[in-house]
Structure formats: structure tokens, C-alpha cells
């Protein structure tokens, strides 16, 4: 049974997950499959790009952070998925071997107008490397079941 429902989140809720290390091997594996650009695949070619060296695909950083959030709390929550992502900013390259820390906070919550069994929690996530530099931010509404949704729906 989930531990966390819609009602458990309100502005003021905060969480921190990690650090978790991202390896060169997994960066190249993701890029080979989904983002095969030289800046994500090859050190020498990447050095000549704006990234100035091998950097993770931004989509990989998103997916990597998704897993940290899933392990951090979402798998214990009555998650119904997310209807989208308001905004992602890729601010600095994520390098092989970086250790990422994720800090989250709740910006707002609202109950669904059309479906009384659920609500939306808008979360803002900041992702830092081991030097404390912000590498990415992510703002997204998370859909969650309300507690006792079955009884009230």
C-alpha cells in the first residue's frame, strides 16, 4: 500500500535525495540509444563542442533524476503519473563520474476539478553536482490519488 497520498503534500514539503554517481558507461549507453551526438559519445569530439568535454544527454539527466525521485519517494506514493513537465533548464554539463544530489519542494497543490479521486502536486526539483553547482532544474505537476479515494469517489 502506498505511504503517501495527495493530502500528504503541501507548500513547505521538502525532500533531498542522493548523492548518486553517474558513470561514463551509462552516459554513453544512454546516448548511443537515444541521443547519439558526438558531445555525448566521444571525449575528443565533445572537447570541440560548446560543452567543452563529454557531457550527459540532458534527457539522460532527466531520466537519471526521475529514478532518484522514484527511489526517493514516488514508488511509495499513490502516483498516477505526470501529465507533463512545466519546464526543464539544463544549466551546466553533467560530466562522467559526477555525483548528483536532488532537492525538491512543493510549489502548489490542487484537487482535480473533473475527477474527485485525485489531485495535482507541482514539484520543483533542483539538481546539484558534487561541487554544489546547480546543473538542472525541473518543475512538474505530479498526479496523486487522494487518501480514501475509493470511499469518496
Amino acid at each position: 500500500m502506498p505511504k503517501f497520498y495527495f493530502e500528504d503534500f503541501s507548500p513547505g514539503w521538502k525532500a533531498a535525495f542522493g548523492p548518486r554517481r553517474i558513470t561514463r558507461e551509462e552516459m554513453i549507453e544512454f546516448a548511443s540509444q537515444f541521443d547519439p551526438q558526438p558531445m555525448h559519445l566521444d571525449e575528443e569530439a565533445a572537447a570541440k563542442t560548446m560543452l567543452g568535454g563529454l557531457g550527459a544527454s540532458g534527457w539522460h539527466t532527466c531520466a537519471f533524476v526521475m529514478r532518484m525521485i522514484a527511489d526517493g519517494f514516488l514508488l511509495d506514493a499513490a502516483s498516477m503519473g505526470a501529465p507533463g513537465i512545466d519546464e526543464v533548464k539544463w544549466m551546466r554539463p553533467v560530466r562522467p563520474g559526477d555525483s548528483l544530489t536532488v532537492r525538491g519542494s512543493v510549489l502548489s497543490t490542487r484537487r482535480s476539478q473533473s475527477k474527485p479521486d485525485r489531485g495535482f502536486v507541482t514539484l520543483h526539483w533542483e539538481v546539484f553536482n558534487q561541487r554544489g553547482e546547480m546543473v538542472m532544474t525541473l518543475t512538474c505537476p505530479q498526479m496523486l490519488l487522494r487518501r480514501n479515494a475509493g470511499a469518496t469517489a
Binding site: F34, D35, W59, R67, L75, P83, E87
Partner: protein, 158 residues
């Protein structure tokens, strides 16, 4: 890639399609998004999705792959014609990503990209920023995802 100056708002490209298999959906989810409705048919059947469906991150990663492959084809054709290939830089981010409908196992998503906005970069001389509305449509013609992506594009020298 064309130079920034040669890109026009409204330019649209068809990126091709990707079919999401149950195995592919589960493999992505096992690594990055192991929520039950992306991992297990029986659990997904009991969820509000009603059947196994892809992680939203998987559906945009598949877009990225097709966008890169499109650019590689275009660049090769440009080079074969003896034209200069402009550089495409990294992306500073995206916004307004909407996962409008679930992408189920067996669905084929066709992706497209249309230039929505462009401006010179203030922080990086020699580069412009191009914003594109990217979409994915399933085999029934339903829009399943949409987002406004961005990327640095090299400006014409001089």
C-alpha cells in the same frame, strides 16, 4: 544544419516513427522509471491507465533519437552537395511538455518538429537560439505529446 539566419519560424520537419514494444517499455522503465504501470502488464491493467504504457521520459527520448538521426541525414546530404554544415549546439532546456495520452505497448508514434521562435543569443556570440514545437502522434491520429524544445544553432560567420 542550416545556419541560424536560414531557419524560419514555421519550418516543419517530419522525423519518422517509433513503435513502442512491451519489452522496450519495460527495459526503459526498469532503469529509469520503475512505476508499476510501466513495468508490469497485470499491475498496469489495474491502474487508471488500463494497460502497460511507456514512461513519458521514454516517449521524449525516442523523439530525441529521431531528431538526431534526421540531422545526421540532412548534414550528410548537405555535405554531399558541397555545402557548409552549420553546428547544432546543446539545448538549454524545454518547457510546456504535455503527455496528452498514454503510449501503450504496440503504439507507433510519429514525430514532427516545427520552428516556433528564434532569437540571437545574448550570452554566446556566434550562436542563436531556436525554439521548436515538437509533437508525437499515435497510429490513430491522436496527439500524444507536445513540447517546446530549444537549441543553440551556429550563426553565419561575418
Amino acid at each position: 544544419m542550416r545556419y541560424f539566419e536560414d531557419i524560419k519560424v514555421g519550418d516543419r520537419i517530419a522525423l519518422g516513427s517509433h513503435t513502442f514494444t512491451a519489452d522496450g517499455i519495460k527495459a526503459f522503465a526498469a532503469k529509469y522509471d520503475p512505476q508499476a504501470f510501466h513495468m508490469d502488464e497485470a499491475a498496469a491493467a489495474k491502474s487508471h491507465f488500463g494497460a502497460l504504457c511507456a514512461s513519458g521520459w521514454h516517449t521524449v527520448a525516442a523523439w530525441m533519437r529521431l531528431r538526431v538521426l534526421y540531422q545526421q541525414r540532412e548534414d550528410a546530404e548537405r555535405a554531399a552537395r558541397g555545402e557548409i554544415v552549420a553546428k547544432l549546439g546543446p539545448s538549454p532546456g524545454f518547457r510546456e511538455l504535455k503527455w496528452l495520452k498514454p503510449v501503450y505497448a504496440g503504439d507507433t508514434i510519429t514525430y514532427a518538429s516545427e520552428v516556433a521562435e528564434k532569437r540571437e543569443s545574448k550570452s554566446r556570440p556566434g550562436w542563436g537560439l531556436v525554439f521548436a514545437r515538437n509533437t508525437g502522434t499515435n497510429q490513430k491520429g491522436e496527439l500524444v505529446l507536445s513540447f517546446l524544445g530549444s537549441g543553440f544553432v551556429e550563426r553565419r560567420p561575418g
